[in-house]
Symmetry: C2
Subunit: 246 residues, 2 copies
């Protein structure tokens, strides 16, 4: 019974998110259905992260066990011909039995993209948050660095979620401007629900000049979701990659 | 009667092209309809280039004369609220009477994008030509430089077109690879119908190793459309900008 690690890229615009739902088309569901056709029986695929509706991925990782022997390159081709062009398996690797995509990730990287120009871009409609007012990306960068290290991120957890522990370690948290594009790159050992989008909504308060970078430290220390900024919209968020100790 | 030069960006995926057609939605038609609403009478917009269905623009230029006085920033906002998000007027400038967008352009720049990786990209579906076999971008660059200068481009003119003159001057013609992306950038004083796409289809023959860079010079000299490569698909083509002596 061969076990595979799949690297998956998708444009999340038209899907209900990674995870299979009662209704709507999910990326997990599409891949499970494609593999079930090959296996001629139901297949379960485990993703490393649950991206929400409208969120994209360049490097989502998923694990699957198959009953039939198939080489990785053939598997990639066979799955991709059964997927819509918005979802691609970009790589497959044979991994040891029990490779647990969900629980053993050493780190995950996300990028959040903001299109910061007076006029929106036809090419960034589904891939960035359009903010017409000028943002101070340097101030946002100062605020972003506050998240590096081990912290309790309760203030940035999606409302209504119940998680046993809210401490996470962030390895890097940075912003960069390239013309009208402001990108926020964050890498950490794990993320709470809506955590990146809540961080971005908070950084934007600083970028707009409404708050100082130091205020972000106060929000973090408060552990109170009510203190943080709005949840940034999903279309700007990309799961860039998931790293493992293998 | 104020005259305006409009700079327009659009995602051409869902349109019949720049030019108003008997049926289907055109970018020209959308902008004319938006301006007609402001003017309360029909308006004609002249574009600097006629992009085909599926072709995109970052910097299409169009000219229009209006009867009412309006400042350029207000005009941009008023038109954009009446356009779908796939089409944006990114700039408006007041220009002298009779600014002839179509006939006085000093140069036009196009970019053609090729996604050269085994697996296609969910994010490049509508913005690049997917070629899975490895392309030799250096050989393509050697071939591309052959087009620089004044030449008769009859061999690269779309089949069935009748143009009085087929000589054009190309100021620069280059390829560059950035990871899986191969970009062809060309700037010239004018382009025949399908000329860029026919050039790219020909360069790809070289990139695939089927032909030598020198063969491209033979095709150019032949003035025979039958000698050139296939017409590259529209989705990889972007009108980047139009330059004027004002």
């Amino acid at each position: 019974m061969p076990h595979f690690k799949l690297t998956v890229a998708y444009d999340g615009t038209d899907f209900v998110g990674w995870q299979r739902q009662a209704s709507g088309v999910s990326i997990q569901g599409l891949i499970e259905d494609a593999l079930a056709e090959l296996e001629e029986q139901p297949v379960t695929v485990n993703g490393a992260g649950r991206t929400d509706a409208g969120v994209h991925a360049h490097g989502q990782v998923a694990s699957v066990s198959l009953t039939r022997s198939i080489d990785p390159a053939t598997l990639v081709r066979a799955v991709n011909v059964r997927l819509p062009p918005a979802v691609r398996v970009v790589d497959a690797q044979v991994v040891p039995a029990g490779f647990p995509a969900r629980f053993s990730a050493r780190s995950k990287s996300y990028r959040y993209r903001i299109w910061n120009a007076r006029v929106s871009s036809p090419f960034e409609r589904a891939y960035a948050w359009h903010i017409p007012e000028p943002l101070d990306a340097d101030a946002m960068g100062d605020a972003a660095s506050i998240f590096e290290g081990a912290h309790d991120f309760a203030a940035f957890q999606g409302a209504g979620t119940i998680t046993s522990g809210t401490e996470r370690t962030i390895f890097s948290s940075r912003t960069a401007r390239n013309g009208p594009l402001v990108a926020y790159d964050v890498c950490g050992d794990g993320f709470l629900r809506h955590m990146v989008r809540n961080i971005v909504g908070t950084l934007v308060e600083v970028g707009r000049g409404k708050r100082s970078p130091g205020w972000v430290g106060d929000v973090l220390a408060s552990r109170d979701r009510g203190q943080a900024g709005q949840t940034a919209p999903p279309e700007g968020l990309f799961l860039m990659g998931v790293a493992y100790d293998l």
